[in-house]
């Protein structure tokens, strides 16, 4: 309600108008979260692609090396970015709190699955990782009623199931596809939408 004249007495219609307008205003207070989807989408995509190249073409035993480097870099960038984003945050929504807890749980599950994979073989862990990626996407997509994320989550789950039946090199391709369709493309749509809604 951008005006300089704020009335003390309002009529019933005004009351409803103010309520609607202000509730919608607060809704758009949710910041642009596309950064995280794009950062992690591209990092996982790059790690899976390099891992595939090292495994299939270079045939080195150190084919796993991109993961610790790229995921470590992602962790540091996320920590620094979220620290400054939080500092500039003027509003805390219930959604942002809820999604913060959800993604914390997803990250913990990913780390634990990677740990399980280190004991039982990575081929066992990769389908689980794609399924866990899908959980975070599904909850976020449903919370914001953002269809590309919901579709992305279904793709991650489908890739996770298919990955159970293929060799490790194909699992890497499936992982690349799942983050491309589940994180990167929805991330760009989210960024575009936020830019156009806030103009």
């Amino acid at each position: 309600m951008k005006n300089t004249e704020l009335k003390e007495n309002i009529n019933v219609e005004d009351g409803f108008k103010i309520i609607n307008e202000m509730i919608n205003t607060a809704k758009t207070a949710v910041g642009d979260n596309s950064f995280y989807y794009l950062l992690w989408g591209w990092l996982v995509f790059a790690a899976a692609t390099i891992n595939y190249y090292l495994l299939v073409y270079v045939k080195t035993e150190y084919q796993w090396l991109p993961w610790p480097f790229l995921m470590g870099a992602g962790g540091i960038i996320t920590f620094v970015y979220s620290y400054f984003a939080k500092k500039n945050e003027k509003v805390v929504t219930y959604f942002s709190k809820f999604l913060g807890y959800t993604w914390t749980a997803v990250v913990i599950a990913i780390i634990l699955t990677a740990f399980v994979g280190s004991n039982y073989g990575v081929k066992t862990a990769y389908p689980m990782l794609m399924i866990i990626y899908g959980i975070g996407l599904y909850i976020s997509g449903r919370t914001f009623n953002f269809v590309p994320l919901i579709i992305g989550s279904i793709i991650c789950w489908a890739c996770g199931v298919v990955a159970c039946y293929v060799s490790f090199d194909y699992q890497l391709i499936l992982l690349g596809i799942s983050v491309l369709l589940g994180y990167i493309i929805p991330g760009y749509i989210l960024k575009w939408q936020y830019k156009h809604e806030t103009v």
């Binding site: 704020l6 003390e8 007495n9 309002i10 202000m22 205003t25 607060a26 207070a29 219930y94």
Partner: protein, 101 residues
């Protein structure tokens, strides 16, 4: 003849209603955010926030962000109940024959 509920005078004011409508969907909001969204002046907003605070509709936390003073507002339990009753009362005015649950 149907008796209409009296509209809550605390909420039946443009700025106070705007503030409570913003806070109803948020966990918390900074003073500057509310000021920006309502378009109110700092002075007027401060007065109305004090009024809402004294009536127990909101809580206010005064703290610091770095060296900068920071005012964080949250809606209280009473504020939620009163806002709900206010919306129901408005609905009765607009649709006097419809029963509210």
């Amino acid at each position: 003849m149907k008796q209409f509920k009296e509209l809550d005078p605390i909420l039946h004011s443009q700025l106070r209603l705007s503030v409570v409508s913003i806070l109803i969907g948020l966990k918390e909001a900074e003073f500057t955010f509310i000021k920006e969204k309502t378009g109110a002046t700092s002075g007027n907003l401060s007065v109305q926030l004090e009024k809402l605070l004294s009536e127990g509709y909101i809580t206010i936390e005064k703290t610091y962000k770095g060296k900068r003073p920071l005012t964080i507002c949250r809606i209280s339990e009473k504020g939620i109940v009163q806002f709900d009753s206010y919306v129901k009362a408005l609905q009765e005015y607009l649709q006097p024959n419809k029963k509210n649950n």
